[in-house]
Symmetry: D2
Subunit: 146 residues, 4 copies
């Protein structure tokens, strides 16, 4: 979907918030794309992030897509709002390995209080993309004054 | 629910698998309880694991409860089986902070192929417990030979 | 959990709203229990409500548990509020048949805007109860004036 | 996604199964499209199907999309298989009213045992389409012999 940004500084606000997420640094994630209603986060699989079979732990994949979805919602919220994940549902479609993990979040419906997003994680290996997770989530705007 | 273990070595199998999860070491999680159909994982909140407001990142909370649920399912599967998360749904009920995070997984229904689990995460601060997440998930048994 | 009702007329409000749900009459559901944070709806399996194998259609089971959850949330909301299902997740654990279906909704956490509920459906056949569905859902309070 | 059917009779099998679902007749639903990995079900809003505010009950919307998803999965399963809904998650995006409800199911990933589908429900009113629900679900193949 196409969304119009509500104010010019939405990208700076998202980048600033992302920079304060120490866990994103811990998993080596960086913010690749910030557009109105769309955010992409990338990370490189690393042995420190693996589960018992050597693939990326589901928690890492979900953390990246959850953050991408949350920030895609935040791009369309009021300037003073913060974003909170109310709930998420994820189907894990394939083991996540390869050179790079791309986590994308997109707004499906932006409301005054609640924003519904879909997300996906794609693993890239030797130029081939595999969708490893698909996500459906509810985000909430929290106003600084309440 | 009360479940009978299928073979005596189920706890050793779970502990061995957990020890191979490098991401559990990365977030400082350890395996506190392994019983038939019930697993508890604990970790200590740490600045490296936080989101933009200084609380534990949802991805860390979900990783711990997902692993607790997966292992609770594994305790009831055949000796040769491995466990895979098919999907999970989580509601985040409160920000996670405090001295300790306790993630619990419990089997609701154990089938031959699919096991349904519920999970929760509780934050402990100064002796007070707050439920921070509740989870409903589908786990799958994967046989080594197929 | 134990909840205190916010005003004496909550049960009448729930019963009045239920009576206006024509679909509940269509599936033969009735409101068995209305307490603060807990609602139970019952219906009798009927050939008109079945799927291709003669069991109750998942849509009927979900409709009953969704309504039970929504009303359990409504019992704890302000007197002027209406309730809306934001989202729900259900695991279907067993085929639903028998003499009676009991759908229960319980509040896990009541917030000012959002209420999180768990639900379950139990089929009764010859005095034996089988849990056929378990549900986790987010409800929203909608004020008449906005 | 594009999927190749596994055997020529998949449409007849789906139509035959749908015809045995008495609940689909009860809610006035009919099978509009059956293609490999894609199914569309349509129904006409009717007072008998409404909730307390006069909109279609969420249970009716979910029943239609769940059936559309289940049958989209069945089109890609083996000829002898039946389909079962393991779990579903739905976000309700807008009240459902209008002249017609269109429920669509699409396969995201078809496995030997599990198939993951996405679904949506669209309400048509005076030629305008509104997405009223989005769904993510896990379907299971059940073989007649086991």
């Amino acid at each position: 979907m196409e969304f119009a940004p509500r104010y010019p500084g939405f990208e700076a606000k998202v980048r600033d918030s992302f920079a304060r997420q120490q866990f994103m640094a811990t998993i080596g994630a960086n913010l690749a794309v910030v557009a109105a209603g769309e955010v992409e986060i990338r990370l490189r699989p690393d042995p420190r992030l693996t589960q018992q079979h050597g693939f990326l732990h589901a928690g890492v994949v979900i953390a990246a897509v959850d953050s991408a979805c949350g920030y895609s919602a935040l791009t369309l919220m009021e300037e003073a709002a913060e974003v909170l994940t109310v709930e998420l549902k994820v189907n894990l479609l394939a083991p996540a390995a390869g050179d790079s993990l791309v986590a994308r979040g997109s707004v499906l419906r932006a409301g005054r209080t609640l924003t519904i997003c879909s997300g996906e994680a794609v693993a890239e290996a030797d130029g081939v993309e595999t969708t490893v997770a698909t996500l459906l989530t509810t985000m909430m705007a929290v106003r600084g004054d309440g």
